[in-house]
Symmetry: C2
Subunit: 83 residues, 2 copies
Amino acid sequence: MIPKITSPETLGQALRAERKHKGMSQKAVGHSVGMEQHTISKIEKGNPGTELNTLFRLLAALDLELNIQPRQKPAMESTGDNW
Amino acid sequence: MIPKITSPETLGQALRAERKHKGMSQKAVGHSVGMEQHTISKIEKGNPGTELNTLFRLLAALDLELNIQPRQKPAMESTGDNW
DNA sequence: TAAAAGTATACCCTGAAAGACATTATGTCA
DNA sequence: TGACATAATGTCTTTCAGGGTATACTTTTA
């Protein structure tokens, strides 16, 4: 499933998934937009200090765009207790 | 309309719109998550150096979450030339 | 239109990102 | 298992974010 993106960690996970989905290595992605491989690694590992320009360069390399939406309530599936 | 978010600038615009939509001031938003008003201002103005942890704190204050999606082709509306 | 609220800038300080380069895991597959 | 690709860490340097605090500018409203 697609995890909600509400932290650097979940963002990193989503980015890694997208990169793998495209069959690219960190090095290849980085090279396409002039970024070091270790920078990609840190982002995917959830580095909270990553800067926006860096993030958007990575998004460009993966041909992705962002979206913001209302935070959804936690799924609360099958716990039985509805209150 | 909702602009595609592909840069710190468009992200800032979207965040400002969401904040206004909720009728909150930069100060109020910042206070709710321990951020300075001037920090919110810089983010909304498109500061490319904004850090992810800061972005996610702001998203939390506005009760928003992120989403990643394939970059969509430019609208190409009503130009007539379809190729 | 004056006062208040909201937003943009500025300065100092501390901490850390990312580039450049290098090295050490960790996979992956013949 | 050995060679090669991929990913994670590390150091040094330069540059800048964000906290704290203050102030100017702009918009709202009484």
